[in-house]
């Protein structure tokens, strides 16, 4: 019985592991010569779309490395969310030819997409202020204002001149 459970668990785990056919951005950049002019697969988050007529550049971020993908403008239009501070961009899969110094694009490192698929839609990231940080900032600002006025009073008492804020007024 225990053996059967173990066997089933292994099978389940195998199904849960994603396919490993895609190259990571870092792998592509660090082994550029090896992958040059070969068809590669890149999966990652869209962090930029720049449309140029019928074509477009889609910058895809994977494993801390972003790579420019040259694709059809219609493919780029499939991207609904671009990654930034308040968004996680769409996850896309690109199958295309990798160039470490593309002759068509002034020596840029790029992938010319043959197949462009949006795997998952991006989402909004809620960025709520941290209560502790807000409190700390309020206390420090209050302290700064208090110190400015306290020192001003001291200065008046001792007839000392502190350059700020008088010199600004």
């Amino acid at each position: 019985m225990r053996r059967k459970v173990c066997f089933l668990a292994i099978i389940l785990l195998l199904f849960m592991i994603p396919p490993v056919s895609a190259e990571s951005g870092k792998e592509l950049v660090e082994n550029s010569v090896h992958f040059d002019n070969k068809v590669v697969t890149l999966r990652g988050e869209v962090v930029g779309v720049l449309t140029r007529g019928d074509s477009a550049w889609v910058n895809v971020l994977d494993n801390e490395v972003a790579i420019g993908v040259w694709c059809r403008a219609n493919d780029a239009k499939k991207v609904s969310v671009i990654g930034d501070y308040t968004h996680i961009g769409d996850t896309v899969e690109v199958v295309g030819t990798f160039h470490f110094a593309c002759t068509e694009h002034g020596g840029d490192l790029d992938i010319h997409a043959e197949n462009f698929t949006v795997l998952a839609s991006g989402k909004v990231v809620e960025r709520a202020p941290d209560l502790l940080t807000v409190l700390l900032s309020a206390v420090l600002v209050a302290l700064a204002i208090f110190i400015i006025f306290w020192l001003r009073r001291l200065r008046e008492e001792k007839s000392k001149i502190v350059p700020w804020p008088m010199s600004w007024t």
Binding site: G48, A56, W70, D84, Y85, T103
Partner: protein, 504 residues
Amino acid sequence: MIPAVTREDLKIIGYNLGKICYVTGAVLFLPIIVAVIYSEFDTIPYFLIGSAIAFILGCLISHFLYTKKEMELKHAVCMAALAWLLAPILASVPILLSNATASGLDACFESVSGFTGTGLTLTLDIDHLSHSINFLRHFLQFFGDGIGIIVVSLSILGKTEMSSVLAFKGETKDMGMRPSIVRTSRMIIKIAVTFLIIGTILFTVAGIKAGLDPGTAVFDGLNHSMTGYATGGFSTHSQNLLYYHSVWVEVAAIVVMVIGAINFNLHYVVLGGRRREILKNIEVRVLLFMLLTFGLLVSANLLFTNFYTSGEALFRKCVFHVISAQTTTGFQTVSPSHFMLLWPVFSMVLLSAAMVIGGSANSTSGGIKMLRVGVLLKSFWGDVKRALLPKTAVVRGSFHNIEDTPLTDTVIKGAAMITISYLILFSVGTAITAAHGYGLEDSMFETSSALGNVGLSCGITSPSMPAMLKVTYMFLMWAGKLEIMAVFVLFGFVILCLRKGIKK
């Protein structure tokens, strides 16, 4: 005999550092406007905390170290050296609180890199960084290197002419444009703002042409204009300028980088109508000669190794990076690991040489500076002539930098001193980097980038690099910005305190 350090000396330095705290505190307020525009309200407390700490520190220092005494040269130089440490530490607070970097040391590194206009970065996930923190990174370069902390302090809080002149020298910005130092400071700010506007327009138009939406184009344009003019090199994207895949953005960058690498005094006289001065100036001539020589050599090297074969690629990858290195900007359109793994050693060494030489004196760029290189070349040529001419012949040298200046032994000695100091620090930095297991040419490349306040990276600079290297590069960036001598004066001052104590 050098007199012992007195309490009054420390008060004079401390009191003037208080002003720097005020200015840094005010600078940390600016990104709040960006945070409001982009509804990034969660980031506002970070800037308030940083700003409040700076103001509190400034108030306390100014009050308890209050003095009416004027600065002497030693105070001014020590104050400038310490200001370039204090301001980055204060500005690193919002960067640290926003978790933009992995640690406090990394936040300090980022801030030092910003203030000194270097551009080496340890920021994590730049593509998901908030607009406000991104703006802060770029503004630090414009404010710190593009204008100068002390210049700003003088313009706003300028106290007396004597103190101002000395502080100005401490920050390695020579006076001479206007009779009054405060007016000179204001003129530097005016020139910087004028070119900032021009640069923003250029980058925005190029960005829109590259396919950006107008809002992003303006934001990116403003930030890149700030870092381009400051010859800093920070970018709003992890790919740096490669993000745009656009020759127009790169051309806009070249224009702004070259403007930033030219002497403020030259800008002033040219804007005043003396346009012929551009071609007569020794620094412009050396800059053009270097760009042409290095550009041709790097292009030829990469062409013959079949790395880049088209004319466009040679311009966009070879010439662009030579200009970026020579002007000490650090804008990059090649992946850092390509520099380390694929570029030929010869090209890497040439780029390192360009970074060590740097741009013009009294400009936003770093490095040894064109003026010193020009002076040394002229002096070398003079010695060759002297050897060839009869004994009775008198060889007189001069160079043209706004006005004709005789090539005296004092001028040559000054240029040689700084050059030798740079080369010593460069060797030490390279040795420390190589000791961490990196190749010699990569170590030379990254060290010259840090020391020359450039920012081009072959991938050594990353959050995972050893703490010892981070500290070494921070020191090199700081020493490079201060043109080394101020650092030695500060060390001398500290040694004097330790050996002779502090007298009343």
